[in-house]
């Protein structure tokens, strides 16, 4: 398989996630065909491809968000720490505490800034006291680069923040649970260029702590933030490799057509 060859063996100790023959069906329709790839630890991996190519569907396999869709079935294995995440024995609730997710549209809860960040630690019982919770909230907001802007408005409604701030709040909210992996599903597609730049810088900063998987429509963004890039087309993984190789020397004609703007 092309993928196995692309993933260099000397990186094996750093492999955080290993997807093997992942196929996804929506009812009778197959949306993803036998995708296999390895995700490197503490790096940014971007999934690119035209609309409907299955990149978001694949991303949602990593925290079992596809379980929410009744007609959706996921086949294949996703291995993290020698455990198959796709097995029925894995509780998605536990999994999602380790694999955080940031969505396309900023979706803060219509509560205060503080409550948004505190919700995750609270439901998982991560803070024994108010002081501990305060610390988690502050630390998460700092990591998300939002602390300075909201330190004096923690009790304001989160929906009153700007779009970019809301998205960083969503990142802080995901970080607060203490995950290893962050999934980002087109996190900048609803934001203006300045907010996008801030988020991209944040992603580069977060890379030292988290394994980040990002779906993006912007090839420039993929080139800027990620070390590895996977190109999807019609539910199939066409090419996967180092970002700089994908964008400069694509091996596959379809990849080349896409990055040169001929399809998509």
């Amino acid at each position: 398989m092309v993928i196995a060859m692309n993933a260099t063996t000397d990186l094996m100790p750093d492999i955080k996630l290993h997807a093997a023959d992942v196929s996804v069906f929506y009812g009778e329709k197959q949306a993803l065909f036998d995708v296999s790839l390895d995700i490197q630890e503490r790096s940014v991996t971007s999934f690119i491809g035209p609309s409907g190519c299955g990149k978001s569907t694949f991303l949602r396999c990593f925290n079992r968000m596809n379980d929410v869709i009744p007609s959706c079935r996921v086949h294949g294995k996703i291995i993290m720490d020698n455990v198959n995440l796709n097995s029925q024995e894995i509780d998605p609730v536990l999994l999602r505490a380790r694999v955080g997710m940031v969505f396309q549209k900023p979706n803060p809860f219509p509560k205060t800034v503080y409550e948004n960040v505190a919700y995750g630690p609270r439901i998982h019982g991560l803070a024994a006291s108010r002081q501990e919770l305060d610390f988690i909230v502050e630390d998460s907001l700092k990591k998300a680069g939002l602390w300075k802007e909201v330190a004096d408005r923690l009790n304001d409604q989160a929906t009153g923040l700007s779009g970019g701030q809301q998205q960083r709040l969503c990142i802080a909210r995901a970080i607060a649970v203490g995950p290893d992996i962050l999934l980002m599903d087109e996190p900048c597609s609803a934001l203006d260029p300045i907010a996008t730049t801030i988020i991209e810088e944040l992603i580069s900063n977060l890379q030292s702590r988290f394994t980040i998987l990002i779906v993006t429509h912007s090839m420039q963004q993929a080139a800027r933030v990620s070390q590895k890039t996977a190109y999807f087309h019609l539910g199939k993984l066409i090419e996967y490799g180092d970002t700089k190789d994908i964008f400069t020397r694509p091996q596959n004609a379809k990849t080349e057509a896409y990055i040169s703007g001929k399809i998509g």
Binding site: N63, M65, V68, P70, S71, P92, V93, L94, L95, R96, A97, G100, M101, F103, K105, N107, P108, F109, P110, Y119, G120, I123, H124, T159, C170, R173, A174, V177
Partner: protein
């Protein structure tokens, strides 16, 4: 039908207007414009006419109810000078002895005192006829009045006692004096007495407090809606307690947990169908299950509330599901993505956001239940109850049932009381609906 333009160009007729110049085409369109405008004007007129008709009917209805019912807000009273016999009723200190009071013939006292003002009336029949001017419950009400005061008045004193319903109707102009005596409820000699008392200032119209403080009675002047209001309130409390949690849980399950399939579809279809089931069927169900099988008390607000809850259930389920669906899925995704369990997602995020919609649906369902008569008839809440119910198992009646009972009564005075009771019911319904609107306005969230 498979029409293919490509292969039938031989059969196509060239439209002269389509190929003509712009001015010709415009002239053609302009010519048809008048007709089009007329059509849309006509349609607008039909709409306005339909709304005007509806408002007209509503006005007629409200005018009828109000003009029939407003007089029930007042009650005629007659002044009677009564000398309460202290030696027969009280102890040495002049305080009333309740046991003696209970045994005492208060009716006789009132009637005797009243007749004393007409010494010229002597015949047995005439005296009875005179006594009919006073309410049959006048003695009982005088007793309550004096017992409440605690001390007995010494010497003759003037009391206002309620007139009979016929005199009341006469004073309010609802009995036509010109009708032949045989056909008239108030006879000629009674008319003369009433006029005599009235001329002497012994008649007055006062606010009818009894209507709002008493339960039902055989005598219209002693009948009130409080019993029915309390009965309705008790039943509706049961309805909310039973229906709201059941409906919300059912809706959350159907929206979030139910596995898609035939069983879920079947349940969904039937929930929607239940909303259209005639309410009397729910009454029969209540009769068979609650009274027949479980042996619960007849005529009790507890059972009435449970039957109404069954009836309201589909309304609240449908409203709850709609407002749950109105919560953006992004909120659900956010909570699930953080590792919240489905139950935590529903309780912490979805339901609080859906609450205004759920509340509105509940109030509308309850308002519907408040106006419901048929199911209550089946479980015996149609009874004649003279006491205001004090618990959920006391026999009681409900407001619409009370209206039904009164409208069926022979006395003219019950007729105006049923109209007034309808006004009370309408006020409750309107205020409930306004509350629903206000809640929705206040708590509606924008995304």
């Amino acid at each position: 039908m498979n029409r293919s333009i490509v292969h039938s160009d031989n059969n196509l007729a060239a439209s002269p207007l389509y190929s003509a110049g712009a001015d010709v085409r415009m002239a053609h369109i302009a010519a048809g414009l008048k007709k089009r405008r007329a059509a849309s004007k006509r349609l607008k007129f039909y709409g306005i006419a339909a709304i005007a008709t509806a408002i007209g009917f509503l006005c007629v209805l409200l005018t009828t109810i109000i003009s029939n019912g407003y007089t029930a807000l007042q009650q005629t009273e007659i002044a009677v000078t009564i000398d309460v016999p202290v030696d027969e009723l009280g102890d040495e200190a002049g305080n009333i002895d309740l046991e003696k009071s209970l045994a005492y013939n208060w009716d006789g006292l009132v009637k005797r005192s009243f007749r004393q003002a007409f010494p010229e009336v002597t015949g047995m029949m005439q005296q009875r006829s005179l006594g009919e001017l006073i309410s049959a419950n006048a003695g009982y009400e005088l007793r309550l009045q004096i017992e409440a005061a605690g001390t007995l008045p010494s010497g003759p004193k003037s009391y206002w006692v309620k007139s009979s319903d016929d005199v009341d109707m006469l004073m309010k102009g609802r009995i036509d004096r010109s009708i032949e005596e045989k056909m008239r409820r108030v006879k000629d000699d009674q008319l003369a007495w009433v006029d005599q008392i009235d001329a002497a200032g012994g008649m007055r119209l006062v606010f009818n407090t009894t209507f709002f403080t008493a339960a039902d009675s055989r005598e219209p002047e002693s009948a009130g809606v409080l019993g029915a209001i309390v009965g309705s309130a008790l039943a509706l409390i049961v309805t909310v307690i039973v229906a709201l949690p059941l409906a919300v849980m059912a809706a959350v399950y159907l929206e979030y947990f139910a596995p898609p399939g035939r069983v879920t579809d079947f349940i969904e279809v039937n929930v929607n169908n239940l909303a259209a089931v005639p309410s009397i069927v729910f009454g029969l169900l209540g009769l068979a299950v609650f009274l027949g099988f479980f042996g619960m008390p007849r005529s009790a607000p507890l059972v009435g509330g449970m039957v109404l809850a069954l009836m309201t259930l589909p309304t609240i389920i449908i409203a709850t599901r709609a407002s749950i669906r109105a919560v953006p899925t992004s909120i659900r995704d956010a909570a699930l993505g953080l590792g919240a369990s489905p139950m935590q997602t529903a309780l912490d995020h979805i339901l609080p956001l859906a609450a205004p919609g759920i509340l509105t649906g509940t109030i509308i369902g309850i308002a519907q239940a408040l106006g419901e008569t048929a199911p209550l008839i089946m479980i015996g809440m149609v009874a004649f109850i003279v006491d205001v119910p004090t618990s959920f198992t006391d026999p009681a009646t409900a407001l619409p049932v009370q209206i039904y009972i009164w409208s069926d009564s022979a006395e003219r005075a019950f007729y105006e009381r049923s109209s007034l009771a309808i006004m009370v019911l309408l006020i409750f319904l309107i205020s409930m609906n306004l509350t629903a609107v206000a809640l929705r306005r206040k708590f509606e969230k924008k995304w």
